[in-house]
């Protein structure tokens, strides 16, 4: 029959046979038509009526064949729905296993339709009849996937089809269960849009995980966290702790670290409550107790307040350290002491004390922020231009986020004092950013600025200090919450209330505390524009992600009030409340999007953005795009485009494509929104499309678009290889130093410079935790940050989304051993950028030489003045500086002079020296690497290098990281990427361990390590971190 391959010239002859009366002829025609249908479908199409008639003729025996032909013709005509209907009618003639394009397309269609119907049936609770033939095809598909070992596809189909029964069966049948479960979990988290169903899947997955031989508790706990099932997590942790096996204990620690990493404060608190209670009182009480005690003391005796503050936490902390173990042991004789020890360690991790302490340690020791950059900026901007001035202070704060290093501020007190009114508020808040994470000492650090009884300072610095306190303790504010509440109640000044509201909102982020809510509501109802705005935002922060019905209350007030600021604050608050609740926010969105008031519509955009953050939900994207082009208010359009960034966070690579057109809009607000959307969605990715899109916008004609593009590009390029970032840095420098550049654009450039080097070049915007889920604090921080458009102080919220990019290994004692890691990449790729070379600094210096020489003198004078001032204060009010020196006995006033002078000079002296030495070392390395790269080609540059943890590992570097062969330490979490905090298993226990020493600050090494261990060594920690914990010299702004 080989010759049968001769292709007929036309199907017309065969088609005429279809109208014949004889069935045999028809059959013959159909069989032959089926062979040629892909070639002559266009001819058959004109006779499709006859073919359909044959299918509908119940008497005709070849009706299924007719259906198949009709289906193929409709397929070619592009009418897939009809094609599918006929294909289903074709029964067995429709061969699922065929590899043709036709079959593939139709099966895809078939699955789509099935999914749609199932979704309506399961989620819409509609009575949908699903064609049993459709189901049969899907089942056949699933069976085939299993037979071919394509389990991942099958899992996808089962999930999309909402078929939990099949999912279970699939996992049972799979050869590699953990891998498949992991895949299912990933898919479920990323792609299952509906929340209810996702939770069902998670429940099922947890059950399946638990059925495995070696349950992966890390994953189970992650799942449980999403289900908000704290008791179960607590049970697992407890089980692991008490199992007696070393590995299980380590695993429990690791789980705790991972949970904390996701930053869901309310959940963590619940877990802590569920853990065995017995040793809790002494462990948890002291810090909380210490704070009010200190506050009370402060109230009692203003003159002694500082002293008491310094002493009280130390004493209390000492209590706390020594306290828990013996006290608990005494209280519960049946609980073994080692168990108590483990439990208290676990609690320290969960409370955030240990991880935050570790990160602080890391950020402090590895700070590589380049002061020269700041100096250059400072030299270039005119301090009288408040916007640029504030932006410089912000840049400094961001560069030193969490590092506790405030050298720059100390060195430029006079310059700093130019910040007045709200700029002063912001500058004070900046201190909070710099000292972020100093949970224990936060209040002591901010003490000089905090409101005190009988002392009337500037309300701006007092409000700013309260805000700063919130930033310091964001998400871990149990300790400071009472104090902030107190301050809020005590003050009637809207500016202080503003700061207190923001601080309280941050400290109580996501806790849903009723009492705090009432306090905030009281402030809101005073109907003061300044305080009300902050109250609105704070309410959102407090109830973040709860989707509670308080939203309606807030919306009602937004209608009542006349103040735009309050409405805006409430709008942002509503968005925060809706964080991550997805479909549940739809009614609120509808309600707000139909408002007359553009500010509420603006809020509606944020509600969509945050509710659907990172889901890439199509409906949400469409809605935002619709408002982006159709709303009459520029603010709403800008917000709509910007919020696309939030929705697309989960798939950053899509964002530049989607907003590309909007980025060329005629409307500058839309362009700004597009730039920010890309910046938010692609933060820290360095995505090429994003960079090229944003680079084009750097030359935009409108100043604020340039501003947005700078900020966005900085977000995208943070911690990218220096070769990529360098042109941008140059551009920023040019923009900052260019006197003719508009001030808005310069502000953007300055902020961008800060963002690029955030956290001493050791932190970047981290939207996801190590386990790949969104960190709520980060996203919320970014969202509020975008409010800087209206209210500059909100720009400090950006610090919330910064997370150190470190790898820190811990042993069973939660101390950090020196962990050797291999990075399989060229060293220069991930090296710190070289410090700004002296040449450029000279260049700048040349221009301003005269100024510099005078400032040097001025600085001398300033220093003297400072010392005198300190002396006065120390003697007169015993204020401020003593906090620096808690180790020293509060000696005679005569000593204080020397101490103050020493603090002024030496406390910054060694640090600077250290920094310079470190920077110099790094520079040397870099230069060597550079030289190797450029001059001697690549041969000289090794393909891999070794680092010693704790050290910086930027996100792109993680995939190159590996443990060296024969490493003594192995992460307890199986197959985890080498980043973040890793609990390690010691393969050769008993051998002496070399710990990463933190002796650079001069403190004894042992206490340092103990502090790192974080076993509640607050007192020691304070001692050890004494120099960096020092609050800045009490420079008072002269307004």
């Amino acid at each position: 029959m080989a010759a049968a391959a001769v292709m007929p010239s036309s199907a017309a002859g065969l088609l005429t046979l279809l109208d014949d009366e004889n069935d045999e002829l028809k059959h013959y025609a159909l069989v032959h038509l089926n062979k040629v249908v892909h070639e002559f479908w266009f001819q058959i199409a004109s006779y499709i009526g006859s073919v359909e008639a044959l299918y509908e003729d119940d008497e005709f025996k070849d009706r299924e064949l007719a259906a198949l032909i009709a289906s193929k013709v409709f397929y070619h005509l592009g009418e897939l729905d009809s094609a599918l209907t006929y294909a289903l009618g074709a029964g067995t003639h429709f061969n699922v296993d065929e590899q043709s394009e036709y079959v593939q397309t139709l099966i895809a269609r078939c699955l789509d339709q099935y999914f749609e119907l199932r979704v309506r049936q399961v989620e819409g609770k509609e009575a949908v009849d699903i064609d049993p033939r459709l189901v049969a095809v899907v089942e056949r598909m699933l069976d085939r996937c299993c037979a071919h070992g394509q389990f991942e596809q099958a899992v996808g189909v089962a999930l999309e089809g909402r078929r939990l029964d099949r999912l279970q069966a699939l996992v049972a049948a799979a050869p590699d269960q953990p891998a498949l479960l992991g895949y299912a979990l990933r898919v479920c988290q990323r792609l299952v849009v509906n929340k209810d169903f996702r939770q069902q899947v998670l429940r099922l997955l947890i059950r399946l995980y638990e059925e495995c031989e070696q349950p992966d508790y890390v994953v189970i706990c992650q799942c449980l966290m999403f289900l908000d099932d704290a008791p179960e997590v607590a049970k697992i942790l407890n089980k692991l702790l008490s199992s007696g096996r070393e590995d299980d204990v380590l695993l429990a620690y690791q789980i705790a670290f991972d949970l904390v990493d996701n930053e869901l404060q309310s959940f963590i608190i619940k877990v802590q409550e569920q853990l065995p209670k017995l040793p809790e009182p002494p462990a948890a009480e002291p810090p909380a107790a210490a704070a009010p005690a200190a506050a009370a003391d402060g109230a009692a005796d203003a003159a002694d307040a500082m002293d008491t503050d310094a002493a009280a936490p130390a004493a209390a902390a000492a209590d706390a350290n020594g306290g828990p173990a013996p006290a608990a042991a005494a209280a519960v004789p049946e609980m073994a002491p080692e168990m108590v020890e483990k439990l208290s360690k676990l609690r320290d991790i969960l409370s955030g004390k240990t991880p935050i302490g570790l990160n602080l340690e890391f950020l402090y020791h590895n700070n590589k922020a380049d002061l020269q950059i700041l100096k250059n900026i400072k030299g270039a901007v005119d301090a009288r231009v408040s916007v640029a001035h504030s932006a410089t202070i912000l840049a400094n704060a961001l560069m030193h986020t969490g590092t506790s290093i405030d050298t720059f501020l100390r060195e430029n007190l006079e310059w700093l004092s130019r910040a007045t009114n709200w700029a002063k508020f912001s500058a004070t808040a900046g201190l909070g950013v710099i000292h972020r994470g100093q949970l224990q000492q936060g209040k002591a650090l901010m003490a000089p600025y905090l409101p005190r009884d009988g002392h009337t300072g500037s309300p701006y610095s007092e409000g700013g200090a309260l805000y700063a306190l919130g930033l310091i303790t964001a998400n871990h504010g149990a300790g400071t919450q009472p104090f902030l509440t107190e301050s809020l109640r005590a003050s009637g000044n809207p500016i202080i209330q503003h700061g207190a509201c923001l601080g309280l909102g941050l400290a109580a982020l996501g806790t849903n505390d009723e009492e705090v809510f009432e306090d905030l509501k009281n402030v809101l109802y005073t109907d003061d524009a300044v305080a009300g705005e902050a109250a609105g935002i704070a309410m959102g922060l407090l109830c973040c992600g709860s989707g509670s019905d308080k939203a309606q209350e807030m919306l009602a007030y937004a209608h009542d009030t006349q103040h735009e600021k309050i409405i805006r604050g409430l709008a942002m608050g509503l968005a925060l409340i809706s964080y991550g609740i997805e479909e549940a926010a739809d009614t609120l969105v509808e309600q707000m999007a139909r408002e007359q008031d553009p500010i509420l519509r603006y809020g509606a955009m944020y509600v969509i953005g945050l509710a659907y953050r990172g889901t890439g939900n199509n409906a949400a994207v469409q809605k935002l795009l619709h408002y982006a082009v159709s709303d009459v208010a520029d603010d709403v359009r800008r917000a709509a485009v910007l919020c696309l960034g939030f929705v697309l966070m989960g798939a950053p690579e899509q964002c530049p494509k989607i907003v590309a057109l909007l980025a060329e809009s005629f409307n500058p607000h839309v362009r700004y929104g597009a730039a920010m959307a890309v910046g938010l969605a692609c933060a820290g990715t360095g995505l090429r499309e994003a960079v090229s899109l944003l680079e084009a916008m750097l030359g935009d004609g409108t100043d604020f678009v340039r501003q947005g593009a700078c900020i966005a590009l900085a977000l995208v390029l943070a911690q990218q290889p220096e070769a990529v970032v360098e042109p941008f840095r140059k551009r920023l420098t040019k923009s900052i130093t260019d006197k003719h550049e508009e001030v808005m654009a310069r502000m953007g450039s300055i902020m961008a410079a800060g963002i690029l080097d955030a956290g001493g070049r050791n932190a970047s915007v981290a939207l996801r935790s190590g386990s790949g889920y969104f960190r709520r604090t980060s996203v919320v921080g970014l969202a509020v940050f975008t409010g800087y458009w209206y209210w500059y102080p909100l720009s400090y919220f950006l610090s919330l989304s910064l997370a150190p990019t470190a790898v820190i290994g811990l042993d069973s004692q939660l101390r950090a051993p020196k962990l050797e890691l291999v990075c399989n990449a060229r060293p220069s790729l991930f090296a710190y950028p070289p410090p700004v070379t002296t040449e450029t600094s000279k260049e700048v210096a040349k221009v301003e030489k005269a100024v510099l020489s005078t400032t040097a003198k001025a600085r001398e004078r300033q220093k003297k003045k400072d010392a005198e001032k300190q002396k006065e204060e120390a003697a007169g009010k015993a204020a401020g500086m003593d906090v620096d020196e808690p180790a020293k006995p509060p000696a005679a006033a005569a000593d204080a002079t020397a101490a103050a002078a020493a603090a002024g000079d030496s406390s910054s002296g060694p640090k600077e020296g250290d920094g310079a030495a470190a920077a110099g070392g790094a520079a040397g390395d870099d230069k060597a690497a550079d030289a190797a790269g450029k001059d001697k080609e690549k041969e000289k540059e090794p393909a891999s290098f070794t680092v010693t943890a704790p050290c910086r590992v930027v996100p792109h570097q993680v995939k190159h990281m590996a443990l060296p062969a024969g490493s003594r330490w192995v992460p307890v979490k199986r197959g985890a990427p080498l980043s973040g905090i890793l609990v390690l298993r010691d393969l050769t226990p008993g051998e002496p361990v070399e710990y990463a020493s933190s002796g650079t600050t001069g403190g004894p090494a042992a206490p340092g390590a103990a502090a790192a261990a974080g076993a509640g060594a607050a007192g020691q920690q304070q001692q050890q971190q004494e120099p960096e914990a020092a609050p800045p010299a009490p420079f008072e702004f002269a307004p």
Binding site: S9, T16, L17, D20, E21, N22
Partner: protein, 263 residues
């Protein structure tokens, strides 16, 4: 081989019936032959030309298809004509490589052209015409069909009608239909040219035999007759232009709106 023999016998029967003008028998026999034909391996679309009797089978099949056309012509059945012509054409095309050209191929092509022409399917007429090579154009059937089409296009309707009488014998089927086609053409021209026309003039113009026939014809086309004047319906045309204007306005508005929305 029995199939071949049977077919041969059936074909003979068919030829007889055709000669005797026995259409009913012809039709039944044709049905039987078709079933036999699909059993022959060489006949397309089986197209297995390797068998020893391939030539014989194909020739036989060709004969059958040609007679099917002739029979259909006689029976004046539109559907049968359509399908028999299609089958014959496909057969010619599919066997071009293995069979020598059929002597009557161009005659059938000409008949097909004529059929399309009288049915006023001008587009298809020209498609078919393009497929006929120069040698085929000289065949009287084709030539006369082409000539007729030209006259029809020129509007030389009297020439068309006159020529109708001098067509080859196989073309007799077309004569009557041709006059109907011509009349329709004239009617549509008149409709576009005049708002109204005297009944008598219309009768002459459309070459109708009596006044009654004219009235009948007018009714078919929806023309109004008042007294002895025929009014061609212009209102519908006016409506159409109004509708067109509305559409234009709508488009313009839509564009304006979309332009507004461009970002």
């Amino acid at each position: 081989m029995t199939v071949l023999k049977d077919t041969q016998q059936l074909l003979d029967k068919l030829k007889n019936a055709y000669k005797k003008n026995d259409l009913a028998t012809g039709k039944t026999v044709l049905g039987q032959i078709k079933i036999k034909l699909i059993q022959l391996p060489a006949v397309p679309p089986n197209s297995d030309f390797s068998s020893p009797t391939a030539q014989q089978e194909l020739l036989l099949a060709r004969d059958v298809y040609e007679h099917a056309v002739l029979l259909a012509l006689k029976s004046q059945s539109e559907a049968a004509l359509e399908s028999s012509f299609t089958q014959l054409k496909t057969f010619y095309a599919d066997t071009r490589s293995v069979l020598p050209a059929a002597p009557q191929q161009w005659m059938f092509a000409g008949l097909n052209l004529l059929r399309l022409l009288v049915a006023n399917r001008i587009a298809e007429f020209h498609t078919e015409l393009e497929l006929i090579p120069a040698e085929g154009m000289t065949v009287p059937h084709v030539a006369s069909a082409v000539q007729l089409e030209q006259w029809l296009m020129e509007g030389a309707y009297n020439k068309v009608l006159a020529a109708g009488k001098s067509l080859p014998p196989e073309c007799s089927f077309a004569v009557e239909q041709l006059s109907a086609t011509v009349r329709d053409e004239i009617a549509s021209c008149a409709e576009a040219s005049y708002p109204s026309l005297k009944l008598a003039d219309a009768q002459v113009l459309m070459m109708l035999a009596s006044r009654k026939e004219t009235e009948e014809y007018a009714k078919q086309h929806g023309w109004a007759i008042e007294g002895d004047v025929v009014h061609f319906n212009k209102a519908a045309a006016a409506d159409a232009t109004a509708e067109q204007h509305m559409r234009l306005i709508n488009h313009a508005l839509l564009y304006a709106k979309e332009l507004e929305r461009i970002v």
